[in-house]
Symmetry: C2
Subunit: 109 residues, 2 copies
C-alpha cells in the first residue's frame, strides 16, 4: 500500500490505447519518434506528447543519437507495475481462499 501511489503514473500512462500501441511497437526494440508515428493514426507531435508521459511514468527511456532520439522500454518501470499486480494477485487469492473456507464452514451445519 506504500507503493500504491507509486504505480499511479505508470498505470495511467498505459490506460491510453495510443500509448499502448507505442509500447507494443517498442517491444521489438528502440525506435525514433518518426518511425513510431508512421504506422499510427495520429500525428507526430501527438506521439511526442505520449512519449513524454511514458517517460515521466518511468516506462520508457531516451537516447539522443544525432538529430533523432531513440526511445526504448525501461525494464525497471515495467517491473514496478509487475510487482504491484503480483501482490494484488496474492491478496485476491487469499481472499478467495478465505471465502471458500467460510463457505465450507457454513455448509457444515
Amino acid at each position: 500500500m506504500a507503493n500504491g501511489v507509486t504505480i499511479a503514473p505508470a498505470i495511467e500512462a498505459l490506460a491510453d490505447p495510443t500509448r499502448r500501441a507505442i509500447v507494443e511497437a517498442l517491444r521489438a526494440g528502440p525506435s525514433p519518434v518518426g518511425a513510431l508515428a508512421g504506422p499510427l493514426p495520429v500525428s507526430r507531435p501527438a506521439v511526442s506528447q505520449h512519449l513524454r508521459v511514458l517517460t515521466d511514468a518511468g516506462l520508457v527511456e531516451v537516447t539522443p543519437k544525432g538529430t533523432r532520439r531513440y526511445y526504448r522500454l525501461a525494464p525497471g518501470g515495467v517491473d514496478e507495475l509487475r510487482r504491484y499486480l503480483d501482490d494484488l494477485w496474492d491478496d485476491a487469492l487469499a481472499a478467495f481462499a478465505r471465502a471458500a473456507e467460510a463457505e465450507a464452514q457454513k455448509r457444515k451445519d
Copy 2:
C-alpha cells in the same frame, strides 16, 4: 500480442484513482457497496458505477446476499494483467540485453 486487446478494459479500469481505492479496499476481503463508499470522498452511486466498470473488466465479482451485494476481487482478471506485464517485462529485458550487447560490440572497434 493476441491478448493485447484483452487487457484493455482491465488496465483502463485501474487507471482511475477512485477505482484503485476500491480495489485496495477489496484486498481485505468482500464488501457491500455502502461499506466501500463510506470512507471514499464520492457518493454511493459513483461507487456503484465504478464497480460496474470493474466487473465488466473482470477484476471483481458479485454475490447478492439479501438486500446487499458483496463485491470481491476476481483473481482471474488480475492474473490476466499480471501475465501481460510479465511478457512485456521479458521483452523489455531482451531489448535491453540486445542494446547492451550492441553497445559492447560498437565499443570494440
